[in-house]
Symmetry: D2
Subunit: 178 residues, 4 copies
């Protein structure tokens, strides 16, 4: 998952977050940005291109923490805007039911998901976006892939920590052959 | 459910449909038209006002048959356009998973749903609409209700055949208090 | 929600929990215990009878925190055993998709759910149980209700904090008339 | 899908079924039989081994038509018993919401699913079974696979018509890496 240190006053300091991470699961939301046609059918999937600490390049989904006193749908909005910019025009789902719950453990092998920093539990949603996406923060770019390309080995190999698995689950939920 | 006789050439004649109805379940789609705010939260629910054969007035959801060789999402599009007009701008769900499956039996009491004409099995979806709704066909009007008003006894009593139950299930799926 | 202070060594102290509650959403699981017949159809719903601090009696669902490094399904198991005893034989869902996500805010009116102690986000599941339920901890009893009785005003009035709403959402998800 | 001609008196004759198949979508249910552990986690997937008309061997899921005046859950029960025998002890889902809806078209390429005989629309469910499975009818055997083996190319190549895709979608819904 992307680095989640929030700098908004009143939220957790980095120290507080470190402490919390050692003691309880941290709640996240994740969004798979998609383009759909008029009949709602998936046409392409958006993946963020990020530069890792060691110069490695990886592709990720939109993700971030749910803050104290923040609704899940507001956390989705905020993280989509953080990662896709202010004019992406995301269509936040009307229903709170996620397509899956991804559990990231600091220990590998318990689930398909892994986050060395923490135990994170992530509510995952598919979010159609209709506007212009202009990645901000630490993302280099947002690239749109056909569903077929998105599940190719080349792309999957650039999605560590189980994000490739989560992407495939999203596509399966949408009725795609994965 | 609304009267479903399709007059498009190549589809079932009324006789064929009568025959099929006596022999197998008929596949329907149903859509609950909703307005949502920018965060995806439900603000109002649209109900069609129909005049029944005996002069009785009832409120219904958008519904109609899935035709031979028609995708479920195309059946949703077609029936939404039939009932809400060409500029309702419905957002057909990206995923095929319905929020429920409503089973209408010609015999009362087997399920909460009842259709004296047939055994119909209906895939039910919530569909946000953003454009202008201009009911066509046999509907008199489309009226937008707050979630609270939509589940009031007055409105529920005008939704026979289990449509009131289906509406409540849709609202429950959206996280509303019903 | 029931009082969640965990006394297992190695988990949060009461102080730590208080501190975390003021700073981030706390992840919960909730289970609606049900009896089903051979065809999977709901026959009754189990509600825990609890004595509140002021001597008031309330009815609740099974609920509890997800602990650090604990899978959601293990949290479900642990909390079901805590509330229903060791021989309830719950059938934990195979899929991680909850039927809804209930967001309890310390402030009233943001969602239908309210918890004065904390911001809790709860993954809600329906869990068929087939064994004997022997409530432990602070629950006085587990009482089985027909779906009709469970949504009656009498029972709903004994389910504060939005638990009555969540119960209705569970029944709606199961296809019941609520 | 397996051959669906029903011989029960009172249902469709083969001629009637042929006629209906040319005119409207036929409603099916499909079940992915699974073994789960006490925490509900998937351990293995059951696939039926069938001998095709040309002597080819294929692997399929449990599937069959929904009959006139039959509930979806009763159709699931009947088809599970037909394919797995009388003591498989399937746990029919309590909720009517399928994990997906698979649309089989007689024309290839419209969806990932294909059935040369008909336009079939199939409600797909994951069904844990706890008893002994003794395939009947035209199935040679039921073989249990680990999730990893079930999505291997060897097994997938034996699942024509999109059944391999549906199996992967089921596993994705269960939180597996596919």
């Amino acid at each position: 998952m992307s680095d989640m240190t929030e700098t908004t006053p009143g939220w957790l300091t980095t120290d507080d977050l470190e402490q919390a991470r050692a003691r309880m699961p941290i709640l996240y939301v994740e969004a798979v940005p998609v383009r759909v046609d008029d009949s709602g059918e998936l046409t392409s999937v958006g993946l963020l291109l990020r530069m890792g600490s060691g110069g490695t390049v990886s592709r990720t989904l939109v993700s971030g923490r749910v803050l104290h006193h923040e609704r899940v749908r507001d956390a989705l909005m905020r993280n989509l805007e953080k990662d896709l910019g202010p004019v992406a025009l995301p269509r936040i789902p009307a229903a709170p039911q996620p397509f899956t719950v991804a559990e990231y453990f600091p220990t590998q092998g318990i689930t398909p998901y892994h986050d060395p920093r923490q135990h994170a539990v992530s509510l995952a949603y598919v979010v159609p976006v209709t506007g212009d996406c202009r990645p901000r923060q630490d993302a280099l770019d947002l690239v749109w892939f056909s569903p077929q390309d998105a599940v190719s080995e080349a792309v999957q190999s650039e999605m560590p920590g189980g994000h490739g698995v989560l992407l495939k689950q999203a596509l399966a939920h949408l009725g795609c052959a994965v």
